[in-house]
């Protein structure tokens, strides 16, 4: 079930082919790299491709879900840059479209679409972990607005973003049934990361980048105009964002199908169709040898054999042989995720809703993403560990580190499995 609208898909593909920068893409986790990505977002916006599923009035194209998926397919297949504005575009944007006032929509959505304002999320807290309802950062009533105090963490993009949005406790006394009390008394707020009282401390990630930050808030004033919905209603509004089909719940398969295709290509280079070894060995050279040139050119030749011992040399199979079924399974899983997502999109387009089923997808894509990249690194040989390697093989390590976060964020996979068991299968709490 491919999206019908071949025209839009074709337009996107053509535009991306001519516009995606050819060279290496800088990290989004440095000031320069962030600026580079902001410029790319502006280029997308100028082509009205930055927020395709939004209403035309705010810079979008009113694209259907299927068209949005087609765009994502093409975006990943073109190896286009990571979306630095995605917190705003996929999380806050849909929330404003659903729960924001028309004043808020008109004021905030266009600069978001143009990347004039890039948003960070401010959900988690140091002691809340996966337990989002354990929020302690406070919003205290002040004249014409609220004063924010507390600490937010794991705030992606916050190191360089302009603004942030998140939940705060506005009514600490909310009580009643203790099982649900924690979910009441929360307020959904937006604030500037440059406001007085805001301190941002970047957090270094596993791979060395600073994609996360901690946000310290000390009586930061937020006007009433920047509250979404009613005070006390924040939990409900946030949950509707978390479940938004164009956000995290219906994650586009583009990343996975593009990576699966690259994995097949990598595997093909390390093994022939019937298991014939790939190119091996290095041409004889006269004079003292050096390995400098090899690092960037010969690449995969080194993974083909490990014939250190003469007696075994003749019998050694290609490395690719010993990962063939993992490659097959990764491709099949990426295919399954793509087909499942399109089927879900078709169902949603026909008026269906997405509830706890989203948990099935979360676990599946996050495990798939890790397995795909792990298999590639197992095939890659001595270059696998090099950070920031140029060329297509250089993307596997970064992709792997990125994938490792998948089973943790947006509700750990343990939590998701419990949701599946209790809410979909009906097992007792």
């Amino acid at each position: 079930p491919e999206p019908a609208a071949g025209t839009f898909r074709a337009e996107a593909r053509d535009w991306l082919r001519t516009h995606v920068p050819a060279g290496p893409q800088p990290s989004v986790d440095t000031a320069e790299g962030f600026g580079w990505h902001r410029a790319w977002e502006r280029e997308l916006a100028a082509a009205r491709l930055s927020v395709v599923s939004w209403p035309a009035a705010y810079g979008g194209r009113d694209a259907s879900l299927l068209d949005w998926l087609a765009f994502e397919d093409e975006y990943y297949a073109a190896a286009a840059p990571v979306r630095v504005g995605q917190n705003g575009i996929f999380l806050l944007g849909p929330t404003l479209l659903r729960h924001g006032s028309s004043e808020q929509q008109a004021r905030l959505l266009p600069p978001m679409a143009r990347a004039d304002e890039i948003w960070a999320q401010a959900w988690s807290e140091p002691d809340a972990g996966s337990d989002l309802a354990a929020i302690r950062a406070r919003a205290d009533r002040a004249d014409g607005g609220w004063l924010l105090s507390g600490t937010k963490t794991w705030s992606s993009r916050a190191a360089f973003a302009d603004k942030a949005f998140g939940l705060f406790r506005c009514d600490p006394a909310a009580d009643g049934d203790p099982a649900t009390a924690r979910h009441r008394g929360l307020i959904y707020l937006m604030f500037s990361l440059r406001a007085d009282g805001v301190t941002v401390r970047p957090i270094r990630q596993l791979g060395g980048g600073t994609g996360f930050a901690e946000i310290f808030l000390d009586e930061v004033f937020v006007p009433d105009a920047d509250v979404i919905g009613e005070p006390g209603d924040g939990w409900r509004i946030a949950m509707s964002t978390a479940g938004h089909e164009r956000g995290l719940s219906l994650r586009s398969p583009g990343r996975f199908t593009a990576a699966a295709e690259r994995l097949v290509g990598l595997w093909r280079r390390t093994t022939g169709p019937a298991g014939t070894p790939g190119p091996a060995g290095i041409a004889d050279t006269a004079g003292p040898p050096g390995t400098a040139g090899l690092a960037d050119t010969a690449g995969l030749a080194w993974t083909a054999g490990l014939a250190w011992t003469a007696g075994l040399a003749g019998a050694i199979g290609a490395a690719g042989t010993a990962a063939a079924d993992r490659v097959a399974d990764a491709w099949i899983a990426a295919q399954a995720y793509r087909l499942h997502t399109y089927a879900t999109a078709a169902r949603l387009a026909a008026g269906g809703t997405l509830g706890a089923e989203a948990s099935l997808g979360k676990v599946f894509w996050s495990e798939l993403d890790v397995a795909l990249h792990e298999t590639a690194l197992e095939l890659l040989g001595p270059q696998a560990e090099i950070a920031g390697l140029d060329g297509p093989d250089g993307r596997w390590l970064d992709g792997y580190l990125f994938a490792l976060a998948g089973p943790i964020y947006a509700g750990t996979n343990e939590i998701q499995r419990t949701v599946i068991a209790e809410r979909l299968l009906g097992l007792p709490r």
């Binding site: 063939a324 399954a336 499942h340 676990v363 499995r417 419990t418 068991a421 209790e422 097992l427 007792p428």
Partner: protein, 336 residues
């Protein structure tokens, strides 16, 4: 006819589910295991009454000419209820084969009988598929080898791990057709059979999940419901995930076969691999959740456990299907 959309397909599945729930499939399977086929054939006739046997038969030969997606719904429900008999053969592979050979009047004559459920058929496709499943219960046994299609006679039989299933070696008796059309039809039939097998595995996996959930809700251990243990929850959640994501692969392969796409063999193998893995996961989880009782024939759970094991290697092994996916991908890559 083709069921118009997923809503109609769901209604059809529900109708078959109700029909098979009313039939005593467990008792039927027990008798089938003793080569007493009467009760089982009666269930098949009721399925025929609901249209299941006519789906893959072309309209001009008395069938419904439905899409393979619809055929797979019937196969999945058959697996869901561990229905004994040559499901993949009679509901999918044989009608697809015969439809390709219908220029022969003798062959064409069987199609309406298949559609009406008056004839249950099975076949062998050596070398990959040397045995005809349940030929002892079938009214028609076929053999296709190289480019020749034969009417065949069942020879000796072997018991399957599934007690309600036997595998028969067959002898060609009368040459029905010969030529490239036979080889082409046999290729389509083999893919239809493998996919029908995948659909049955999905259904069987679903049944195992349902029975495991049921058991986990009712049974207590160490003073708590078994299903309240996190290890049980997470294991059954993984089964639900595997089944959920195998299903669209079956649907895609059905569409590819119906439309005769070049990707049909690859997509069929992908579906068979994923459905088999999901059903295996369901079987392992069911054993673990049920404990020792699941390892017996006391509950009837063994009908599904052994059917999963039988169908896992029927119509191509996991290793063979993975190799076929890889070969197709390698070929794509070579021409890309």
């Amino acid at each position: 006819m083709s069921l118009a959309g997923s809503a109609e397909q769901e209604l059809f599945a529900a109708a078959l589910h109700e029909l098979l729930t009313d039939a005593d499939v467990t008792g039927t399977a027990r008798r089938w295991a003793g080569q007493d086929y009467a009760a089982g054939l009666a269930v098949w006739r009721r399925l025929a009454g609901a249209g299941a046997t006519a789906l893959a038969v072309p309209g001009e030969h008395g069938g419904l000419g439905a899409s393979l997606a619809d055929v797979m719904i019937a196969c999945e429900e058959a697996g869901h209820h561990a229905l004994p008999g040559p499901v993949a053969e009679s509901l999918a592979a044989v009608p697809v084969l015969l439809a390709g050979l219908a220029a022969e009047p003798a062959v064409a004559a069987w199609l309406p009988l298949l559609a009406a459920g008056d004839l249950i058929a099975t076949l062998a496709l050596p070398p990959q598929r040397p045995y005809a499943a349940d030929a002892g219960a079938a009214g028609l046994t076929l053999l296709v080898q190289d480019d020749m299609a034969w009417l065949a006679t069942p020879g000796t039989s072997h018991p399957s791990v599934d007690p309600a299933r036997r595998l028969w070696s067959v002898d060609g008796r009368e040459l029905l057709a010969r030529g490239p059309a036979v080889a082409a039809a046999a290729g389509r039939a083999a893919d239809a059979g493998a996919l029908a097998c995948a659909a049955q595995l999905l259904g069987a996996g679903r049944a195992l999940l349902e029975q495991s959930v049921q058991h986990a809700r009712q049974r207590t251990q160490f003073g708590r419901a078994v299903g309240s243990f996190q290890a049980v929850k997470h294991r059954l959640a993984d089964v639900a995930i595997a089944l959920e994501f195998a299903r669209p692969l079956v649907a895609e392969a059905a569409a590819a076969q119906t439309e005769g796409r070049a990707t049909a063999p690859r997509d069929t193998s992908a579906a068979k691999v994923a459905a088999t893995d999901a059903a295996h996961l369901a079987a392992r989880a069911a054993l673990q959740v049920h404990g020792a009782i699941g390892y017996t024939r006391e509950l009837g759970l063994h009908l599904w456990l052994t059917k999963v094991q039988a169908l896992a290697s029927a119509w191509g092994s996991q290793a063979g299907h993975r190799a076929r996916v890889l070969a197709a991908l390698a070929a794509d890559e070579a021409t890309a």
